[in-house]
Amino acid sequence: MSRKRRPVQVAGRTLALLAVASLALTGCGRDSASEDGGPGQTEAISEGEATGDIEVWAMGTEGEMLGDFVKDFEEANPEATVKVTAVPWEAAHDKLSNAIAAGETPDVSLIGTTWMGEFAEAGGLEPTPEGLVDEADFFEGPWGSTVVGDTSYGVPWYVETRVLYYRTDLADKAGWDEAPQNWDELKQFATDLEDKAGVEYGMHLQPGQTGSWQTVLPFAWSNGAEVTNAEGTEYTIDSPQMQEALEYYKSYFDEGLANDGTLDPGELESGFADGTYGAFISGPWHTGLVEEQGVKTDEYAVAPLPGKDSAPGTSFVGGGDLAVFSDSDNKESAWKLVQWLSEPETQSAWYETIGDLPAVKSAWETGELASDEQLQVFGEQLDSTLAPPAVPSWEQVAAVIDADVEKAVKGAMPVDEAVADMQSQADSIGTGL
């Protein structure tokens, strides 16, 4: 045996190592048995007070404010201590997925609604215990975001949904004293805003690219389209309803009612203020943004999304869910905290603390949420919303939809081909359930 290895030997060894590694991998193989059906809900938690340490991760403002907010919970449960860690949204997805991989998770976390499918399928989340909360107390759309397969893996915490924003002063000028109710009216509304009120674009709609599915799908949903089958095992994007909706969406660009250029951040709000755009579709955060740009509260209004035939149409619902991790060693108490956060009184108090819209319906019957006209529009819209399907591959399919919407809108592909392309790409990606 010589001490110095010749290069050929080294290369030989590396190859051998690789071969062994590949063999080892072949030997393992994927376990497919777990893929059918969900595990079902876990047993109900016991009565009594929460105990021990409960570690909670929350993002953004929620993470900053929750620590003080849970003092009431700690008072009611003197044996329990809640530790809140604030995680920035940008880092949250990776941090959660690493924590799940390592088995070193907190007990409870705020989870973005579009991540539920992936984390649940990875085995990181605990199914919601039987009887923890009543499904009927929640808006239907947000509840849907917790259901992966047939099993619910958490509880909606706060929600946001998209409505129609429009300039009331310009609408008056164009002869509209109320918001459009259906697709035909919406189109007429945009046309009148251009012809009679002199705006450059009657509507702002996103011409494809990241996130445009959040505006396109509500049109499709309002038209009766569904993106997956009920079990979440197959994508069902290609349908006449979807085609018709995309055709309608595209017509805004063809008729010059919407701008097909990409906007920089802030351009939409300033354009809404100076009369470039007469209307757009967005979530609750935009009330603050347009007012910052100098649109007075009596110069604009929000309205439920127009439906195909009558308002409200079906809108997109996002927000955050609360989930307990399967690696938590204090699950009972963790669920008790989740239960407390979903009580109507807690939800109202949380709205007053931070402004998050409650996911529990009865929280909307008291206080500012019941009296403020603008908020009531969001409350009304929340009754008819859908969440994107809670399947692991959704973000990838959403990117496919974004790309094909852009192709259709810019005329690079006919609508029917674009929709068929969405379907065939989604088929080859699979839902991942």
Partner: protein, 313 residues
């Protein structure tokens, strides 16, 4: 001490005394291993390990949902690679990446060489110009892209204002699928020429004036001197410049990520961008395969450049 006993059989062929038995050498070898150990361990754990792991991953169907059971994944051979080569989007991003290299490398090198030659001649304000051309390299890409987005704006952007003054058409630079990629290349060339300029400048200063003067005495024109003396003598530097610039453009990402998000109609999406997206979607196996395809492209292109420019010296 197995080596000590086997060494003599090998040493029989050598004239020198057996290497393995020299205690001094052995001690030195041991000291060397100890000194190198921290680096070796770091290299194996943080460089070689992940590289091999990613190579292994590229032959499996590992996805994000497998993170808790990373070994319970299917071994699928080269399926990821064949899937990529058959994917119209991946083909498109390969073409885009090719365009970045074909347009970007000559443009960047040409501009850098021009700047270097001019800077090599002037005596006054040399430092100012050097700093000026180098400044974009050290400026944050986000800041640069914000400024260039303003320059490229369809209405009110500086470029279109100037075009308007002389009566030329004013295109939507970043929203037009056939103009967006060249627009990004121009910006990238502007941003990257500083580094190359410094390297070329250093190369130019190694060319002795005597050679040029001799050529001029023989009646060569300025252009002749540049073509027949400067360029050939600069060849090693040019080769180095071409290699690092090509690798840079093959990995084109930041500019497109900040300026256009890969659009319009995927016209500015590069292979690295595609890989980034796939990692984001949790398709770890597929993403790893895409990076290895890019790695192969880097190796091949570098090899070709060495063949073409590196030979005759």
């Amino acid at each position: 001490m197995a080596t000590a006993t086997t060494a003599p059989t090998r040493a029989g062929a050598d004239q020198a005394p057996a290497r393995g038995t020299d205690p001094m050498r052995r001690q030195q070898a041991r000291a060397a291993w100890i000194l190198a150990a921290p680096f070796l361990v770091l290299f194996l754990v943080f460089t070689a390990g992940p590289v091999l792991a990613s190579l292994g991953m590229s032959f499996t169907d590992i996805k994000r949902t497998d993170i808790r059971t990373p070994f319970a994944v299917g071994f699928i051979g080269i399926d990821n690679y064949t899937q990529l080569l058959g994917d119209p989007l991946f083909r498109k991003v390969m073409v885009n990446t090719g365009l970045y290299v074909v347009l970007g490398v000559p443009l960047t090198m040409g501009l850098a060489l021009g700047a270097a030659v001019l800077l090599n001649r002037i005596e006054r304000l040399k430092g100012l110009f050097r700093v000026g051309y180098y400044l974009p390299v050290v400026t944050s890409i986000v800041a640069v892209s914000v400024v260039w987005k303003f320059l490229y704006r369809p209405d009110g952007g500086l470029i279109n204002e100037v075009l308007g003054l002389v009566g030329l058409p004013q295109p939507e630079w970043l929203d037009n699928p056939s103009l967006a990629l060249p627009a990004l290349v121009v910006m990238a060339a502007w941003r990257n020429l500083g580094t190359l300029m410094i390297i070329f400048l250093a190369g130019l200063q190694t060319i002795p004036d005597e050679v040029k003067e001799a050529a001029q005495v023989d009646g060569a024109s300025g252009w002749g001197v540049f073509r027949r003396i400067t360029l050939p003598m600069l060849k090693p530097t040019l080769l180095f410049g071409a290699v690092i610039t090509s690798i840079g453009y093959l990995q084109f990402f930041e500019e497109a990520f900040v300026m256009t998000k890969g659009g319009p109609l995927d016209a500015t999406r590069s292979v690295t961008f595609f890989t980034y997206d796939q990692f984001g979607f949790g398709n770890y196996g597929l993403a790893a395969s895409a990076s290895y395809l890019l790695f192969i492209a880097v190796v091949v292109l570098t090899f070709v450049q060495f063949k073409i420019f590196g030979e005759k010296d």
